[in-house]
């Protein structure tokens, strides 16, 4: 392939770093990985040593220090950078630096101008509207002006009313806030202005920035995604189906993802679910063509109880849940790995197939295994995993950075995901039954401050939610 001879710097951690490493090995590419002191015992460091030797591992201070990553790239003579997800994955300035520095490299993701254009939510909405793609109302950026805030709030209440929601609620939150601070819900337009002023003052006082976000409080909507894959040059685009990511923690963190996004004919819907899936897929591809999209990406949608889709945003990167789309996809009858596709397309290979060559088989469910107390606002545990084990099956794949043979201190600096499990079944019932079987066989034990009773997992929660998969 044209990418042969490349050496990929994997600028990420944990399971995504491990999946990228394996994809590199599969493509015959060298790689180098990085880790922070907190991640010294992460499985990605161990796997890098196994697959690439001692020289494939560099200790850095932070995954968010671009200069440091470039210094490692130079020291290791890397020729391409894979940002994974999070960190620099959607930072167009980083992507631009990769390709424009004195010793340029390939950026394994969309071109920097594509990330810039679709990362700007106003621009994304402009492209969407030009193609008659419906977009979700709400503030695209921090709002400072009272008049603008009033207009947005009015449009949100109006939108909810058109969706048949009688007691509509919107959220007003400090743009710079976090952890639930500076957030209030507003149930009517009459209350809105005083809440807006209060939150704006709070934001100014506590965060030094009085920007406020005004969003929908989403109760009854489903969250769907379309997985798009595009060739460099932005001419050939295909999709790898839809995903449903509606099962989320209270902190809006996804916990279960399912592909395809609905099960028409199996689960009863009050709308034409097949039509909705076709619409969001068509809309996503139309936007990809219009924007000259040129790598993997995800179009995120909310679907109302009436089956109407509205575009939320475009994620210009590989997603955590890419594997659940891959598990139901076949290209010319063969399995596909979307990370492998991402790398080889970014390094200049042609797609080599069209939408007609892609077929979908069965149902995939991805579970995110997390040490967290689901009964207490999904509070994560900063403890030690003493055992993580599961039964192997040909319908199951588990990705984890937790070492199988040693205690693992969960770093508190990063996302609390411990493992991803992807289950496949010929139909929804089989996938759910296999999912429950996997969760039943899964063992996740640990301690917090040496105490076993203080270690919580979300396994029971995941099993409970399995019954509700794809139901609206």
């Amino acid at each position: 392939m044209s990418g042969t001879g490349h050496k990929v710097l994997i600028a990420n951690r944990g399971e995504i770093a491990m999946r990228v490493m394996r994809a590199c090995v599969g493509l015959g590419l060298d790689f180098v990985c990085v880790h922070t002191p907190e991640d010294v015992h992460s499985g990605h460091v161990r796997l890098a040593r196994e697959l690439g030797g001692e020289g494939a591992v560099y200790r850095i201070h932070s995954y968010l220090d671009a200069n440091e990553l470039f210094a490692v790239a130079d020291a290791a003579k890397a020729t391409a950078v894979h940002p994974g997800y999070g960190f620099f994955a959607e930072d167009f300035r980083f992507a631009r630096r990769v390709v424009r520095r004195d010793r340029p490299m390939e950026f394994i993701g969309p071109s920097w101008w594509v990330i810039r254009d679709l990362g700007d939510k106003i621009n994304t909405k402009r492209i969407a509207r030009s193609l008659d793609v419906p977009t979700v109302p709400g503030s695209d950026r921090p709002v400072y002006s009272e008049m603008e805030a009033d207009e947005i709030a009015a449009s949100l209440f109006e939108f909810q009313a058109t969706q048949g929601i009688i007691d509509g609620v919107i959220m007003v939150k400090a743009s710079a806030g976090g952890g639930g601070m500076g957030i209030e819900e507003v149930g009517s337009f009459d209350e809105f202005r005083s809440v807006f002023r209060r939150i704006r003052n709070y934001a100014k006082r506590n965060f030094g920035d009085e920007g406020v976000l005004i969003e929908q409080r989403i109760f009854d909507f489903n969250h769907l995604e379309v997985q798009v894959v595009s060739e460099r040059g932005g001419r050939n685009h295909v999709h790898f189906g839809t995903r449903n990511c509606s099962i989320q923690s209270t902190g809006k963190q996804k916990r279960v993802e399912v592909a395809p996004g609905f099960a028409p004919g199996v689960v009863p819907y009050t709308f034409d679910a097949a039509r909705t899936l076709a619409d969001i897929t068509d809309y996503s591809l139309a936007m990809a063509r219009e924007a000259g999209y040129d790598n993997v990406g995800t179009w995120e949608w909310i679907v109302t109880p009436r089956g109407e889709p509205f575009l939320m945003e475009v994620n210009t990167r590989i997603q955590v849940e890419n594997g659940v789309s891959a598990v139901i996809s076949r290209v010319k009858g063969q399995p596909v790995d979307i990370i492998t596709e991402q790398i080889r397309l970014a390094l200049g290979q042609s797609l080599g197939y069209s939408q007609e060559d892609i077929a979908f088989e069965g149902v995939g469910i991805e579970y995110r295994i997390v040490a967290e107390n689901t009964d207490n606002r999904f509070t994560p545990c900063a403890g030690t995993v003493t055992r993580l084990s599961w039964q192997e099956h040909d319908w199951l794949r588990v990705f984890t950075q937790v070492p199988p043979d040693a205690p693992y201190d969960i770093p508190m600096e990063y996302d609390p995901n411990l493992a991803l499990a992807i289950v496949w079944g010929t139909d929804l019932d089989e996938a759910k039954a296999r999912g429950l079987r996997f969760l039943d066989e899964l063992v996740l034990e640990g301690t917090v401050s040496g105490r076993e009773g203080a270690f919580y997992t979300n396994i029971r929660y995941l099993a409970g939610m399995t019954g509700e998969i794809l139901e609206f």
Binding site: R59, A71, A75, G178, G179, R205, M412, V448
Partner: protein, 215 residues
């Protein structure tokens, strides 16, 4: 009862602290020619605005970052074999034998005298905005704490939860963590002085001020 003399004698028996300067990030290291036994100084100036002795530079992606001595002392070990080489983050570069300052001794002794409110778990800690504001404007000893008072925000894994104070009522006398620092479980967060012991604590401070001679 606090035995200040005994505590001071313990500190005097070992009045040094070894400071290890690590590479703060990856990069190519260059030293400035210092050798073992050389004297260095820490930040100085009326507002501590002037940096300490230049120990070396670390360059990554054309950014040359100076590495200064954080405290005064004597150079113990210097890794001259790394001169001009690429080092990983955290690599030890220089050690400094530092003679404890009067303020450091006060803090050491006070840790024995104050009530220490400790970190319940490994995390980053922040004061709640009202307390933070008061500490910034009026100083540490302006904040009175009491059992059950919401005092801090515990931040870990992108989640923040409130933390209430537990312990005797008193004023915050010492703060042992910095903004953005990771604090291990059991490490002290603040030292609290019950109001009825304020005079004892002030005596401790006064005594160290007069008895401890800085180098």
């Amino acid at each position: 009862m606090l035995n200040i003399k005994e505590l001071l004698d313990t500190v005097k028996a070992s009045p040094y602290r070894e400071i290890v300067i690590h590479a703060p990030h990856t990069g190519v290291v260059e030293f400035t020619g210092l050798k073992a036994g050389d004297r260095v100084h820490g930040r100085f100036g009326e507002y501590k605005e002037k940096p300490g002795t230049l120990l070396g530079h670390l360059t990554r992606e054309k950014n040359k970052k100076p590495i200064h001595a954080p405290e005064k002392g004597e150079v113990g070990m210097i890794r001259t074999e790394l001169e001009g080489k690429f080092v990983e983050a955290g690599e030890p570069l220089v050690t400094i034998k530092h003679f404890l300052t009067r303020q450091e001794v006060i803090e050491l002794v006070l840790q024995k005298a104050l009530y220490l409110f400790r970190a319940p778990e490994r995390a980053k800690y922040y004061f709640v905005p009202e307390v933070d504001q008061k500490l910034k404007v009026s100083g540490k000893r302006s904040v009175k704490v009491r059992e059950g008072m919401e005092l801090m925000i515990v931040s870990r894994m992108k989640r923040e939860t409130p933390l209430s104070y537990s312990g005797p009522e008193g004023i915050i006398y010492s703060v042992y963590f910095g903004r953005g620092d990771n604090v291990d479980e059991g490490e002290p967060l603040i030292g609290v002085c019950p109001e009825d012991q304020l005079s004892v604590i002030q005596d401790v401070v006064a005594r160290i001020q007069s008895e401890w001679e800085e180098e």
